[in-house]
Symmetry: C2
Subunit: 141 residues, 2 copies
DNA sequence: CGCAATTGAGTTGTGCGCAACTGATGTGTG
DNA sequence: CACACATCAGTTGCGCACAACTCAATTGCG
């Protein structure tokens, strides 16, 4: 019988450790391309949903401008995207992929299979995990 | 039917987002005591397993000295622990809780219940999640 | 309209997390 | 014993995260 107060501590630590282990799987795959995992998330968001604003990226990734601004500046410096002041609303900044940024979608397309291979779960377990994690995160809304 | 390559991307993002959401639940609870989540993990390790070395803490928490050294220095400055060069092996540094550090165990004992309340899972789901996360992390060993 | 309140992006400061490195200490092998 | 090698902790540098803040642009309300 486990002390119930130990359960949350364990699940929180496992969450913390698993998340870092996960980005650790991505790191050697992304490092040759000069990318980090949060940078990949920005690219995925732009690949899937097209050009958007800093604000909307923040909503998609649950990150604020304090994190995104310097990150986007690095991706711009690397030539993967452009940042343009909005014409309708001068406060916003439109984020758009360049040819280079779009091209990374193909260049990096081999990565998901490597991750699936490293994280050896069945499809049902993937769905189960996604559901449980979503509920953990949902608790904070 | 979901594109299988999207599954890993989803689970990795959910892992990343849930982990940050989790430390976000801890933050307001720890902030009044001047602590962070990684600092709490160090305290938990010391409460549960007693005095140890930097090296062993690193093994328990999957962190290296580059992360632990400054973190431990901050906990020492806060008066929660002491760092002493090992007598047998002069390379090692023994980490021991002070009265203050031991006292925090009671002071912070209300936190696990708050977390369990925020993360509203059944005991079975907790175990399931811990198991799945452990297998994700285990893939990296 | 006029002006307070809100919003969007960026900056600053702090604390991780990790790679790469340093320097001191210990170990093993010839 | 001597010397190459490994190990431990710490430092440096960089990129997140996030709080707190600034500043400009926009909105809304009297």
């Amino acid at each position: 019988m486990v002390n119930p107060s130990a359960l949350e501590q364990m699940v929180c630590f496992q969450l913390y450790a698993a998340s870092r282990a996960m980005t650790g799987i991505y790191r050697p795959l992304l490092e040759p391309h000069g990318l980090t995992y949060p940078q990949l998330l920005v690219l995925v968001a732009l690949w899937d949903n097209g050009p958007t604003t800093v604000r909307d990226l923040g909503h998609q990734l649950h990150l604020d401008s304090g994190t995104l601004s310097p990150l986007l500046k690095r991706l711009e410096t690397a030539g993967h995207l452009t940042r343009t002041r909005g014409s309708a609303d001068e406060r916003t900044v439109l984020i758009e992929l360049t040819t280079s940024g779009l091209g990374l979608r193909d260049t990096l397309s081999y990565i998901p299979a490597r991750i699936a291979c490293a994280v050896d779960l069945t499809e049902a377990e993937f769905h189960q995990l996604i559901d449980l994690l979503g509920r953990v995160r949902g608790a904070t809304h």
